[in-house]
């Protein structure tokens, strides 16, 4: 008797659940579907923005995101609970796409790698021959920098340096090469210069590794996500982070926000050469595809992405923001190189990781 009652109750409950699911997928327009994504942390603010949420809501979606280092997304994160992964580079996305057998990917926006610094540091490095005037913007000469770094040059050893006589190595602060995309992009740049071209052979890998490893290992502890060192740059200033590797978008985003976090003495340098970080979305379930399609095709989202500092697939969006906000960033960057193939980049990163 009791057992029968129990089963009856379970059936009633089950019917209730099924009804709810059916209704949820069906015609009720007010019901939003939740889509979960794991994203490179530099896109966190974009997805958290109410205007962005509103656009997604118009299309029936609520997008929930967890930030993580882009390589962490590709290697360590358990992706099963997510509908999409949105790392900050093509190589990381390539790996996820292969691992998860995703049919396609979306690359709705990109951002060049930059070095953010302060006026006194830029002046010092101009004297040291590392910072040079470029076509409408200041460049960070990677070759000259590598030469200083190879010698283990400390800041206090730069001739005539009274503005920043710190007793630590002259190094660009990056993220951890074991976890983060921006560090991998940095490796793409520095290995290109050390090799005199894109690294594409085992010989070349072996040849450039000592020099490029040093750029990471000599920093000691590094943070795993790009927001970390950039926030240090903004709040702790020159003492902690005289030179930080960042996405151009991080800097532009702050200027557009006008929250006075970018002070007048803060400067952007464009590495010569630099690479583009191509933010690439990998759908893991059908709802992830919908997010990718909207980001790629929706003009409203494109405009919003540009206000977060991203260069969009339609360059007009970014150009408008630059004009409106009177930004001192170049429309086009001339000296851009391609990152090495995914396997090459991974092998070099592994080789560096082993030395920790």
């Amino acid at each position: 008797m009791k057992r029968t009652l129990g089963i009856g109750l379970a059936v009633v409950l089950l019917v209730g659940v099924v009804t709810a699911i059916v209704l949820g997928q069906g015609g009720e327009p007010a019901r939003l579907q939740t889509v979960r994504g794991v994203i490179g942390s530099e896109k966190l603010a974009f997805f958290a923005d109410q205007r962005v949420k509103d656009v997604f809501a118009k299309h029936g979606l609520v997008v929930e995101t967890d930030p993580a280092g882009s390589r962490q997304i590709a290697t360590a994160t358990d992706l099963d609970s997510y509908d999409f992964a949105f790392p900050s580079s093509a190589p990381a996305a390539e790996k996820i796409q292969r691992d998860r057998k995703a049919a396609r990917t979306y690359a709705p926006f990109s951002s060049p790698m930059v070095v953010a610094t302060f006026d006194p540091i830029a002046d010092l490095l101009t004297k040291a021959g590392v910072v040079k005037p470029g076509p409408g913007y200041q460049t960070f000469d990677v070759q000259a920098y590598l030469e200083l770094a190879a010698k283990g040059t400390r800041w206090d050893q730069l001739p005539g340096n009274t503005s920043y006589p710190a007793r630590k190595n002259l190094l660009v602060t990056t993220t951890d090469p074991r976890d983060s995309n921006s560090a991998a992009m940095y490796l793409a740049i520095t290995s290109f210069v050390a090799n005199g071209g894109v690294v594409s052979s085992a010989d070349a890998e072996a040849r450039v590794l000592p020099a490029v490893s040093k750029l990471f290992l000599d920093q000691g502890y590094t943070q795993s996500s790009t927001e970390g060192p950039f926030e240090d740059y903004l709040s702790a200033g020159m003492g902690k982070t005289p030179l930080v590797l960042a996405y151009e978008a991080q800097f532009v985003d702050r200027v557009v926000r006008g929250d006075s976090s970018i002070r007048p003495d803060m400067k952007l340098l464009y590495p010569a050469p630099t690479v583009l970080s191509k933010h690439t979305l990998v759908p893991l379930r059908p709802n992830g595809d919908r997010v990718g399609e909207l980001l790629q095709g929706d003009a409203e989202l494109g405009k919003l992405a540009a206000t977060f500092g991203f260069r969009t697939s339609d360059p007009q969006h970014f150009a408008t923001v630059v004009k409106e906000k009177n930004l001192t960033v170049p429309q086009t960057i001339v000296d851009v190189v391609e990152p090495p193939a995914h396997e090459t980049l991974e092998r070099m990163l592994e080789a560096i990781a082993k030395q920790y």
Binding site: K2, R3, S41, E64, D66, P67, A68, A76, G152, R154, W155, A166, R167, K168, N169, L171, D176, F216, L217, D218, Q219, G220, Y221, T222, Q223, S224, S225, G228, E231, D232, L234, S235, A236, G237, M238, G239, K240, T241, D259, S260, S261, R263, Y356
Partner: protein, 533 residues
């Protein structure tokens, strides 16, 4: 059917009964909406008023359970933290991120505030050293320390982040290479590091107790020798009732940045709570309030540093990039760099200790001989150069068993201590105070032969004194001791039916501290005491 229901009902009743005493894996309870369960460093306790306001403003309240940096890292790495917590909040994630099993469990961090670890000295001392008119680097500080021109207190680097940061900072700065530390670089500057640590006269397992002991000594309330200054967080030094002048080494500092970090295992609700709380804590008004009330630096650029922060742009020293480098540095500190310890264990082996209790005692001592392979356990073993004396007692004191752990090959001596501990047997009465008094005879001899050591006494007893000398007799004896013996801190361990009030009295008269092993193992208490030895 009815019968099958019975066990379930019994299980329910059992569960209900259990809820009175919290599950040890969930010391702050089960997941609850609107509550963030946080495993934290004890220095976060002063944020409570800010968090109370945050609870009002956001509906998210924080429940803390406090632990040390390394122990905390261990709990995160083993997955234990995930069982009972949604987030961790230590003064820094640096060590955690170097432990791969811990790193992969860390989710979103929000850096809430920052505070560098610096040296605080009385203004007169700073002037005397000539440091009021110029900024000095760690090398000059180490040199003055080596010449005993000042003394200081610092926490145990394996137990507390401020000591840990100071150790990394001074080692990085002295190595002078400007890049991150490795073993070779540490060895190259070992002589200067030894000089620097020769002036450390006070150690503690927590920043809070260190500051209190420093102040009690300064006011003459503790019999221990006065210490000139402290190495601690800027925030702690700025709030010291004994005014201190802060010395910011020109070559750099290591800074705590207090990341409130979600665990990847956290539920959606906890995630949301974390985000809400983070946004609130980083709003300019709250940041300003944190700066004003806790003397920590804001992390949002919109809030300007106020006048009490004498140095603005602090150079941050590089931090080691691997766990092995950090662990190696801490081990070197204990075995080679710091002033060696002299520790006397006065151990109750009376009849009431029979059974589980004597077993627990054997394990507690054995754990310190290298048997405890946990992270925290490895650092709390008896260190190279340490003098260890075991003084078991029952109706009277038994012969003292003295050991000195060699710096280079410690294992044979550690094995001897282990054998002795394993052979401890329980019988007879409990003559606490005559035995404790006897311990001073041992220490007197050792101090006469070699005065420059951290000396301390651990007193472990499980019950009332049955000897003819009582605590009043001991107090009289203690008052008559010469300064160097009187200032030796006694760390009584509460166990079984310990006389709590008497133990408090013994701790107080000697400038020590009581440790409670009634609700945890003796091993855990003995391990914690290591931070104070």
């Amino acid at each position: 059917m009815i019968r099958r229901l019975l066990p379930a009902a019994a299980a329910l009743a059992l569960l209900a009964g259990c809820s009175d005493s919290p599950d040890p894996a969930r010391p702050v309870g089960d997941p609850t909406p609107g509550t963030l369960r946080v495993l934290a460093g004890s220095e976060l306790a002063d944020l409570q008023p800010i968090l109370d306001e945050a609870a009002n403003a956001t509906g998210v309240s924080v429940k803390f359970d406090f632990t040390g940096t390394i122990e905390g890292a261990e709990k995160v790495a083993s997955g234990e933290a995930e069982q009972g917590f949604d987030a961790v909040w230590f003064s820094s994630n640096r060590y955690l991120e170097l432990v791969p099993d811990a790193q992969k469990r860390l989710g979103t961090p929000t850096k809430v505030m920052s505070s560098p670890v610096v040296l605080g000295l009385p203004a007169a001392k700073v002037t005397e050293l000539g440091w009021d008119s110029k900024r000095v680097g760690w090398a000059e500080i180490a040199e003055a320390a080596g010449a005993q021109k000042f003394t200081y207190g610092m926490t145990d680097p394996s137990a507390s982040n401020s000591g840990f940061s100071a150790l990394v900072g001074v080692a990085a700065a002295l190595s002078g290479s400007g890049s991150a530390l490795d073993a070779a670089k540490v060895n190259a500057v070992a002589p200067q590091l030894k000089q620097f640590f020769s002036a450390q006269k006070l150690s503690a397992g927590s920043s809070g107790w260190l500051t209190e002991a420093f102040q009690r000594r300064a006011r003459g309330e503790d019999p221990g020798a006065r210490v000139d200054g402290l190495i601690n967080y800027e925030s702690v030094l700025l709030s010291s009732p004994e005014p201190l002048t802060l010395v910011y080494p020109s070559d750099g500092v290591v800074t705590a940045d207090y990341p409130l970090t979600l665990l990847t295992s956290a539920s959606g609700e906890a995630r949301e709570a974390h985000q809400k709380l983070s946004e609130h804590l980083k709003s300019p008004d709250v940041q300003r309030k944190i700066m004003e009330t806790t003397h920590r630096r804001p992390v949002v650029p919109q809030v300007q540093l106020d006048g009490k922060f004498a140095a603005k742009d602090l150079v941050e020293l590089p931090f080691p990039g691997s766990q092995s480098a950090v662990d190696g540095l801490i081990t070197t500190y204990f075995d080679q760099l710091r002033r060696p310890s002299r520790t006397l264990y006065v151990l109750d082996t009376s009849g009431s200790m029979q059974g589980d209790r004597i077993d627990g005692l054997r394990q507690a001592v054995t754990g310190l001989t290298g048997a405890d392979q946990s992270l925290a356990g490895r650092f709390s073993r008896f260190h190279g150069r340490e003098q260890v004396t075991l003084l078991p007692f029952s109706s009277s004191a038994r012969p003292a068993l003295k050991y000195e752990v060699p710096q280079d090959d410690p294992q044979p001596v550690l094995d001897q201590i282990r054998t002795t501990a394993t052979n401890l047997d329980a019988s007879g009465g409990t003559a606490i105070y005559s035995s404790l008094r006897g311990g001073y005879d041992v220490l007197r001899q050792q101090i006469d032969a070699d005065p420059d050591r951290f000396t301390s006494i651990v007193l472990m007893t499980d019950g009332e004194n049955t000897g003819s000398e009582d605590v009043t007799d001991f107090q009289l004896f203690h008052q008559g001791l010469p300064q160097d013996l009187k200032g030796i801190p006694i760390f009584p361990v509460l166990f079984g039916e310990s006389a709590t009030a008497e133990m408090e009295q013994v701790a107080k008269m000697s400038g020590g501290k009581v440790f409670d092993a009634r609700s945890r193992s003796l091993s855990a208490a003995f391990k914690e005491i290591r931070g104070y030895q």
